[in-house]
């Protein structure tokens, strides 16, 4: 359009061709933006919102987890304390029991040792008594023979006087210690009397 034509043109009456060209241009812009730009922005907005909401949600979840863990630990701690107290009580009871058992055992042992000692003592005594019996008889007869001036030995042996005498002595001694129990525990005094009496 030349300048003269322009001078007479009305700016409010646009050429149809220009409107069509403009419409096509706008349409291209509209579709390109609608396809490549706005959906991407919307996607980013959504992702951003989700990121923020997700972050809050994650934080809440973690807090709940931490709280649960704390409760669990506290429960475990309480349980452990109870258990420890139980174990302590049990240990104390067991210790007591062991102590009593040991005491009983020790008593048994001591009783056994005492019994054996007494037994040995009785055996030795018997041995000594038997030995002394023979020697005393012989010494007494010898002594009597010297006093009398002749040997009474054969006669005494034949008659068994000495043995009878000693048996009588034994019988007397047995009569005195009749109440004594054989193990010597119950009748400690009787036993000592018996032993003393024998010497």
């Amino acid at each position: 359009m030349n300048t003269l034509a322009a001078e007479s043109a009305n700016p409010l009456l646009p050429p149809v061709g220009e409107i069509i060209v403009g419409t096509i241009t706008f349409a291209i812009a509209f579709f390109v933006l609608g396809k490549f730009v706005w959906p991407r922005f919307e996607q980013v907005f959504r992702a951003r919102r989700e990121a923020i909401e997700g972050g809050i949600e994650r934080a809440e979840t973690m807090q709940a987890e931490a709280k649960a863990a704390l409760e669990r630990y506290q429960a475990q701690l309480a349980e452990a304390r109870t258990e420890a107290a139980q174990i302590r009580d049990q240990a104390r009871a067991e210790g007591q029991q062991i102590l009593e058992e040991l005491r009983a055992q020790a008593q048994q042992e001591s009783a056994r040792i005492v019994a054996r000692g007494e037994e040995q003592l009785a055996t030795s005594r018997q041995q000594v008594v038997n030995e002394l019996r023979g020697q005393i008889g012989q010494l007494a007869v010898e002594l009597a023979g010297r006093v009398v001036g002749e040997s009474l030995e054969d006669q005494a042996r034949r008659s068994g006087t000495v043995d009878r005498f000693l048996d009588q002595l034994d019988g007397m001694a047995a009569g005195a210690g009749a109440g004594a129990s054989p193990d010597g525990r119950g009748g400690a005094t009787g036993s000592s009397v018996y032993v003393q009496g024998d010497r």
Partner: protein
């Protein structure tokens, strides 16, 4: 006579003296010579410098936005942030807040409209282009017609044709006697004045803005070359051209914003029945 009086006479002589005086810009500014001309189906197509500026502006804004969106991530880079801010302005500030809960599906259309107008407006102060395609009535008009078709279509679809036209002609709550006056005004308003004002507002702003810039720029050049005392006013004229350029920058954003806000308002009237 003093020398300044001589100068004044010279200036006045120059003003009065036909061809040698200041040639103010005419409407021919908006009718540059065609670069290419052809005819399809009886319609004449004329590709001018302004048409090419429109393509360049559109291609530039598309490239920028596609680049901004291509690597879009949750943590935006600067370009993405700019693009997102523009889109959010339209999406949240207009589609959601002006149209209402049904507004979000219109966000892509409104945002496309906003960036298309903004890019083309911006050409009015872009070096070497310095004329906006929107100062040609064709572009604002076609955009207004698209908006007009859209909001009427949405109104009919959302409310039903009978309801939509009845509400447009007989606004609820108006006394019967007043309808003689109100009905013609309302019908004219919805179906003629709205699209017309929408188109003219944008067109006239860009047209006048360009004229102002040209007047002050040519004025500065003229005063510099007139060869007398007037040369001292040349910097003033140049300063004014500079100030008007910044003013034009404001208008560029404001008119793009207003066009889209009004579109959103009309769409709001279409999706929600009058009350």
């Amino acid at each position: 006579m003093t020398s300044s009086a001589h100068a004044l006479i010279d200036v006045l002589a120059a003003e009065g003296g036909g061809d040698s005086g200041f040639q103010s810009p005419t409407i021919a500014e908006f009718y540059p010579p065609a670069v290419a001309e052809f005819s399809v189906l009886g319609i004449d197509f004329e590709i001018t410098r302004i048409t090419i500026i429109m393509w360049i502006a559109t291609a530039a804004i598309l490239t920028l936005l596609v680049l901004a969106a291509r690597k879009a991530s949750v943590v935006p880079n600067k370009l993405q942030y700019l693009g997102e801010s523009g889109y959010s302005l339209v999406r949240d500030g207009m589609a959601r807040d002006v149209i209402g809960p049904k507004g979000l599906p219109f966000a892509p259309f409104l945002a496309s409209l906003f960036f298309f107008i903004l890019a083309n407006n911006f050409m009015s102060i872009f070096p070497f282009a310095q004329i906006s395609p929107n100062s040609r009535f064709a572009i604002p008009l076609l955009l207004a017609v698209i908006v007009w078709v859209l909001y009427n279509y949405i109104g009919i679809k959302e409310q039903g044709a009978a309801r939509y036209f009845k509400d447009a002609a007989i606004p609820p709550g108006v006394p019967a006697a007043a309808l003689i006056l109100v009905t013609p005004i309302e019908l004219l308003q919805v179906f003629v004045i709205r699209p017309f004002t929408l188109a003219v507002r944008l067109f006239a702003n860009m047209f006048a803005g360009h004229m102002l810039l040209v007047v002050f720029s040519l004025g500065a050049v003229y005063l510099l070359n007139v060869g007398n005392f007037s040369v001292v006013f040349a910097p003033l004229s140049f300063l004014m051209a500079l100030i008007m350029t910044f003013f034009e920058l404001l208008v560029i954003f404001l008119q793009a914003y207003v066009f889209v806000v009004l579109t959103a308002t009309y769409l709001n009237g279409a999706v929600e029945p009058a009350h």
